[in-house]
Amino acid sequence: MQQYIARRILQGILVIFIVTLIIFLLVHLGGDPVRLLLPEEAPEEAKEALRIRLGLDQPLHYRYFLFLQGLMQGDLGDSFRYNEPAVRLVMERLPITATLAILAMVLSTLIAIPLGILAAIKRNSFVDLFASSGAVIGRAMPNFWLGIMLILFFAVYLGVLPVSGFDSPKHLILPVVTLGTGMAATVTRLVRSTLLEVIGLDYIRTARAKGLSNRVVLFKHALRNTMIPVITIIGLQVPSLVTGAVITESVFAIPGVGRLTVAAVSSLDMAVVQAAVLLVSIAVVLVNIGIDIIYTIIDPRVRYD
């Protein structure tokens, strides 16, 4: 068990390294990093100072080292728009985005798993049709459109929920529903199809032949085997959940990392964008490691690697 956890963490660290390498290469090989990180009209001293900080006269591997060093020290440059360290701007807003994403993930799994199971059990029934078509529509509908439609109906027309912002629990409802829908759709379809496959497996039939009651067979063996790939895929969905969060934040004016990054890209404030991509990706990897480890603790039979 501990071996597995250690291995998993090591693997995660490797992934994080490669992520930083990818981002570093994109920023440093995609043109002049100084031009990228500072606006045209910045004073020459500032540009010179940045050149030295980034080590632009040094070989590439040394520059990467400086980059990593900066990351460890929490210094990834300053936003020229806000005149503040980019890392601080991102970290201030990361909890908000994380809250939104986590709530959406919880909501969508709570809905999708039971719904998927039901759809699989009662295959081709009304429930199945409802769940399946709901899932496919949820997958096809752009989430910003869903958000706008929800605002139109619940906030403008009915007036029962707030339009935007992130001040009270009420403010969370529409954004979380909007963000969770896409993931719920994917997970529902996944649970349904995986469970159907698993039920068809030989050993289940054998277990049934042995005389255990239908229910016991289903809930114990089939579900357990379904959950393994499902949890894996949920973990893999975290990056797209973050992508959805960025868009949802713009629809509902939520002051998270997503909205910050969109504003930064619009005004080409790349220090912020760089910091956001790095820090959020690292967070995603950590979350994935966390999910894997927790699941292994709950179900030690799992060693899927």
Binding site: V156, E197, V277
Partner: protein, 278 residues
């Protein structure tokens, strides 16, 4: 062909996708009005079935008096063009890397697969935004960016197929006989992977279309003068209380297009490779 007629899902997918393609290709002919033509005194006219609507404007007019239906038709051009081009680009990259990884194996495989894992951990829109900052916005750069960020599914599928085919006896035999590797790829591996490749490509078009409209919605997509459903939605949002149609119809257009493509993709998958299910 006969198969698709039997499948309701496939039919719906085919019909929807064909409609969108027709719109995109024949936009100038099908569109009742020039999409950029303003008519300032005819602003915010409701759809035709509304009492204040006019039969001249099926889906109403927008905030500058332009015909919404025409703009939706022209918007399909952006979605389809960006969708297909980006997917071709992504496919090329994914194919190359997948082949490399699957065929050569060994260290190439490990490195590329690790690379894939890390790439997948970065939320796509953040990576896209970083690239937009580096390459500066523009239609071509958006296509390139969308292509470059979506190669992974192809790579994986291709790699899996290649690994499988490689293990087959007759292929091992041919390799030991000394045939050139790329000939092997061409004659034996390609035909086998093309089916799953098509399935992945189809579904990827749907993803790219949503990604492009999301970027346009956020205002960081293709340039402003290009008509795209995402930006129609973004601007339409401002008028939603007096003109709900400006934002609603583009949203429906995106949903139906994506739906059609997903159905088509599902049908293709079920036909050619049920193993890919789930």
């Amino acid at each position: 062909m006969k198969k698709i007629i039997k499948s309701p899902v496939g039919m719906v997918g085919l019909i929807l996708t064909s409609i969108v393609l027709l719109f995109a290709i024949f936009a100038p002919i099908l569109s009742p009005h020039p999409p950029h033509q303003q008519n300032i005194t005819q602003r915010l006219v409701p759809p035709a079935w509304h009492p204040d609507g006019s039969s001249d404007h099926l889906l109403g007019t927008d905030y500058m008096g332009r015909d919404v239906f025409s703009r939706i038709i022209y918007g399909s051009r952006t979605s389809i063009t960006v969708g297909i081009t980006a997917v071709i680009l992504a496919g090329a990259i994914g194919l190359a890397l997948g082949l490399l990884s699957g065929y050569k194996g060994g260290i190439w495989d490990s490195v590329i697969m690790r690379f894939v894992d890390s790439f997948m951990a970065i939320p796509s829109i953040l990576l896209i935004m970083l690239l937009i900052g580096i390459l500066r916005p523009g239609v071509v750069s958006i296509i390139i960016i969308l292509g470059v960020t979506r190669w992974i599914t192809y790579a994986r599928v291709v790699r899996a197929e290649v690994l499988q085919v490689r293990e087959m006896d007759y292929v091992t035999a041919i390799i030991s006989l000394g045939q050139k590797p790329w000939k092997i790829l061409l004659k034996h591996i390609f035909p086998n992977i093309s089916a799953s490749f098509m399935v992945v490509a189809t579904l990827n078009v749907a993803n790219v279309i949503i990604a492009e409209s999301s970027l346009s919605f956020l205002g960081i997509g293709v340039p402003h003068h290009v008509i795209t459903w995402g930006s129609m939605l973004a601007i339409g949002r401002e008028y939603i209380s007096v003109a709900w149609w400006i934002a609603t119809f583009p949203g429906i257009a995106i949903t139906l297009t994506v739906l059609g493509i997903i159905f088509l993709g599902d049908f293709l998958r079920d036909t050619f490779d049920p193993r890919l299910r789930g």
